[in-house]
Subunit: 496 residues, 2 copies
C-alpha cells in the first residue's frame, strides 16, 4: 500500500517524455506541474526527462531517468506506447515505485501483448502502474495534476474561455475508468461547487485497479465520499470484499455504465470491458453497500448530499415549503424512491397548529405534512417551522422547499443562512431546494451549501438524493455500522 | 372563444384594486404594466381603479370601474376576496368580458360558496374568469404581465439581485395550476434560455380551465409547444377530446403532480384537487397524445427538444461522440427509454471505415455505433461523421456528444456552429450534449441552440428528451398526423 501513496502524495515527480511542443500532453503536464510548484501549491519536485531537449520552459531537462535526483518517487509516462516498457524498467532501476502511464495504444486498441509486457516489467522491477491509457491524477490539495488538458482555450475570435476547470479542494474522490467522463465530470463538479479530494483515472487497469484505489482512499483523511465511474470490474470477489469494508466508513456511489445490451456493446468497443449482466452488478453493489447512481446528474447530486448530511435513521421525511405545488412534487418523488411522507399528528402538529392559531403562520397554512407556509411565508415562519419539524419524533429528515420569490422573504441569502443554522443544531439530514437560475436562486443555494445544507434546483433532485442517503442508512444498519458512522460524521461536522 | 383572446391580447387593462403601497400585489402589477407600456412593449392601455386614491405612480386613478374608458376589455382583480363578486359584476356592466382574479381566499381555503357566487355573477354578466387564486398571465411578446413578483430583490447588504426573471419571447406556452410552480418555472426557463409564448396560471379554475386554454393556445400562432403543470383535471372527457385534437398539431407535455398517495394528499390540501388514480391519468394522457414528464427538469428538457427538433420516424438512434464513456451512458439510457442503438452495417459503416482507412478519422475510432471519434477528434471529423450518420437509411435520429475538452477542437463554439449547420440540412432530429458548467461548455451549448439544436449538460438528459420525441412520433403515426405535423414543422424552420 505504501507505494500507492506516491500516486496521491509524491515527493518528486518525473515526467518521462516531457515535450517542448505546447500542443503535446508531455508539455501540458510538465507545464501545469511546474506552475503549481511555482505557486507553492505543489510541494513535490518536478523533473523532466527527454533525451532530445536541453530545457523546457526554462527548466533543466534530464537526458535519462537514471540522472534524475533521488527524491523522485512518481513517474508520469507520456512516451509512445512501444517505449513504455523500457521507461518502466528504467523507473524501477532508478527506485521509482509508482508510475502513471498516460500513453495510449494498449489493450484498448487490441494491443494486449504490449500491455502484458508492461505489467511483466513492472512486476519484475517492483513498480506499481496506474493506466495505461488514462489521464492520471488530479489532487487539488497537493497540486498534483497530470491531466493534459489546459484550463483554457482561445477561441477563433480571440476570446480566452475556461475549458477544463479544476474543482476546488474538498472531500469527494472521483475514480473513473473513462478519462473523458472523468474530465467532463470535473467540469461538472467545478460548476456545482463540489470540492474534490482526488481524481484518479484508472484507464486500462493493467495493474492498479478499483480494489486497491478503494483501500487507498479509505485511508485518505481528506476523502469522505468516493465516486466511481465503472464500465466493468475485473476482480469481482476482491472488489466486493474491499467495497464492503470501505463502505462501512465512507459512502461509495457508483455509476455503472454498460447496463443495457446497447451499453454493453458500446463499453466493449470503448475499453474492451466485458460489462457483464447488470443484475449481477446490482446484486453485488447492494450487498457491499455501494449506492448506485443511474446517471451523471445523480452521481453528483448524491455526492453533495453525502458530503454534507448524515443518513437518516428512518424513511419518514418532512416537507416544508412555501409553494404548494412544489410540495406535491416532492411528496410524489419521496414515495417513488421509497421514503414515507407521514401525516403529522403528535406534538409537531400541535405546535404548528398553535402557531397558526396565534397568527404566526398564515391561517391558510397546511400543517399536516407537507407543511405549506404558502406564498405568505416569511423567514421567521420558515425558521420556526423547521425547528418544530427537526425536533419531532415523527420525522427522520426534512426537505426544505424555499422558493425565493415569495414577497415575505426579502433576503433569500439570509433565509438560507438562518435555515442552515437551524439544521446544523440537529442530527437529522436536511436538504434544500430553490428552483431556477436567477441570481437570487443561485445565491440562496450557495448560501445553503456554505452552511452545510446541500441545495438543488428542483424538488425531485433533492428527494432522490435523500432517497440515496436512506438506502445507505439501511445498509449501515444491516451491517451494524450505523451508529459508528453517524457519530463520526456528526463529530467531524461539529454537530454533536 | 373570442373573449378568451383578451386574456392574451387585451386592448385595455383595468387593474381593480391598484394600490399605492409598493409591497402590495395591486401596486406591483400596475407598476409593471405601466413600465411595459412606457417601454413601448405593451400596446394595451392600462387603467387603475381604487376609490381611495387620486393617483398612483403619477397616473390617474379611477374611482370606479364604471368610469374607465371604453377600450378596457380585461380586468385584473386584486381586491379582497369578499369584494370580488361586486368587482366582477361591475366589470360585466362596463362591458369587460374577461377577468383575471388574482385574489385568494376561495375554494382553496374551503370558501366554496364565495367562489360559486363569483361564478354565478360572472355567468349572469357574461364575464369569463381566470382564477381565482392565480398569478395571472405573462406574455413576453405583448408585455402583458400580471405576476405580482418584482424582478428584483434588495438584499440586506444592499445588493440588488434578480429574483423573478421573465423568460425571453419564444414559442413555449406554460399553463400552471400552481402559481408558485409557475413562477419558479419561469425562473428556470429564463436560465435555460427557453423562450416563452404565454404563461397562464389557471388557479382554482372556477370558470376557464385547461380545456379552453388548450383550444386557445392551439389557435395562437406564437405557441408551438404547450407545457402543463396539473394536479387534477375536472372535465376529464372534454379535456381528452381537446387534447386529442390539439396534440395532432402542437405537442402537449404534462407534468401531472399527485401521482402517489403522498402526492395526492398533498395536492388535496394544496388546491383541494382530487388528484385521482395515476393510472387513469396515464392512460388518458397516452390516448390523447400528451407526453408525460416525470419531473420539472424533464418538462423543460422535453420542451427544448420539441421546439427545435422534429419527432423521429423510428426508434433508431445514432450516437456520435468524442468520449467513449459518454457514448456508453447514452447507449444505456437509449435502450432504457425504448430507443434502439443499431449496429451500423450498410453504407454508413463503409463510409466511416473508409475515412478510417484514409486516416481522416483516428485508427482507433469506433464506427459501428456509438461512433467514437476518441479524444483525437477534430471539428472536421465531427462534421464528416455527422453528415454520414444523418444521411444513413439505418438511423432515425442522432445524439451528438461533443465534449469540448478534446485538444483537436480548438474552438467549441465553432464546432457547435458547424454541426448545427449540418443538422439544419437534414430532416432528422439531432440533440447535442456537452458536459459541465465551464465557459466553454456553456458557450458551446448556447451556440448549438442558436443553430436550432437543443443541447444538454449530460448524455442521459438528451437521450430522455429524444425518447419523448419518439413517443410523440408514435402517437402522431397512430392517429395519422405524422406527415402533416412534420411537414409543417420542417417548413416553419426552413429545413425543407
Amino acid at each position: 500500500m505504501s507505494e500507492l501513496k506516491s500516486f496521491l502524495w509524491p515527493k518528486g515527480i518525473v515526467v518521462v517524455g516531457a515535450s517542448r511542443d505546447p500542443s503535446k500532453p508531455g508539455h501540458v503536464i510538465f507545464r501545469i506541474l511546474l506552475e503549481n510548484k511555482r505557486r507553492g501549491l505543489l510541494k513535490a519536485n518536478v523533473y523532466a526527462v527527454n533525451p532530445n531537449a536541453e530545457s523546457i520552459l526554462g527548466e533543466k531537462v534530464y537526458k535519462s531517468i537514471a540522472e534524475v535526483p533521488p527524491d523522485a518517487d512518481l513517474g508520469v509516462v507520456v512516451v509512445p506506447a512501444k517505449l513504455v516498457p523500457a521507461a518502466i524498467s528504467e523507473l524501477g532501476s532508478r527506485g521509482v515505485r509508482a508510475a502513471i502511464i498516460i500513453s495510449a495504444g494498449f489493450s484498448e486498441v487490441g494491443n494486449r501483448d504490449l500491455e502484458m509486457e508492461v505489467v511483466k516489467v513492472a512486476r519484475e522491477k517492483g513498480v506499481r502502474v496506474l493506466g495505461p491509457n488514462c489521464v492520471g491524477v488530479f489532487s487539488p490539495w497537493s497540486g498534483l495534476d497530470t491531466l493534459f488538458l489546459p484550463y483554457e482555450k482561445v477561441l477563433k475570435d480571440g476570446r480566452t474561455v475556461v475549458s477544463t476547470p479544476r474543482p476546488p479542494p474538498g472531500h469527494v474522490a472521483l475514480v473513473s475508468q473513462s478519462g473523458a467522463v472523468g474530465t467532463a465530470a470535473l467540469d461538472y463538479m467545478a460548476g456545482e461547487g463540489i470540492g474534490l479530494s482526488h481524481f484518479i483515472s484508472v484507464g486500462n487497469k493493467a495493474d492498479v485497479d478499483e480494489v486497491e484505489i478503494l483501500r487507498l482512499l479509505a485511508e485518505d483523511e481528506l476523502t469522505r465520499v468516493i465516486l466511481l465511474y465503472v464500465e466493468n470490474v475485473n476482480r469481482g470477489r476482491e472488489f466486493v470484499k474491499a467495497a464492503s469494508e470501505v463502505s462501512k466508513r465512507k459512502p461509495i456511489i457508483a455509476l455503472k455504465a454498460g447496463r443495457t445490451s446497447a451499453g454493453r456493446r458500446a463499453a466493449a468497443s470503448h475499453t474492451a470491458a466485458l460489462a457483464g449482466v447488470d443484475e449481477v452488478y446490482n446484486a453485488a453493489f447492494e450487498r457491499c453497500g455501494i449506492i448506485r447512481a443511474m446517471d451523471l446528474e445523480e452521481l453528483f447530486d448524491f455526492a453533495k448530499a453525502f458530503v454534507y448530511q448524515p443518513p437518516p435513521r428512518g424513511p419518514r421525511v418532512g416537507i416544508l415549503t412555501d409553494g404548494g405545488g412544489a410540495g406535491v412534487m416532492a411528496a410524489d418523488k419521496a414515495e417513488e424512491v421509497g421514503l414515507v411522507v407521514p401525516v403529522l399528528e403528535g406534538e409537531a402538529y400541535e405546535r404548528l397548529e398553535e402557531l397558526r392559531r396565534k397568527g404566526e403562520i398564515p391561517a391558510f397554512a397546511q400543517v399536516s405534512n407537507p407543511v405549506d407556509l404558502t406564498g405568505s411565508a416569511t423567514t421567521e415562519m420558515f425558521v420556526e417551522a423547521l425547528e418544530i419539524m427537526l425536533s419531532s419524533e415523527e420525522l427522520d429528515a426534512v426537505v426544505l422547499l424555499a422558493l425565493h420569490q415569495v414577497p415575505g422573504v426579502p433576503d433569500p441569502v439570509e433565509l438560507a443562512r438562518e435555515l442552515a443554522r437551524v439544521a446544523s443544531r440537529y442530527t437529522k439530514p436536511v436538504l434544500a431546494v430553490d428552483t431556477g437560475w436567477s441570481e437570487a436562486a443561485i445565491l440562496e443555494r450557495r448560501e445553503f451549501e456554505r452552511g452545510g445544507v446541500p441545495a438543488y434546483p428542483t424538488p425531485e433532485r433533492a428527494v432522490r438524493a435523500l432517497g440515496a442517503l436512506y438506502r445507505y442508512a439501511q445498509h449501515l444498519i444491516r451491517v451494524g455500522a450505523y451508529e459508528s458512522y453517524i457519530t463520526s460524521f456528526l463529530k467531524l461536522r461539529g454537530r454533536i
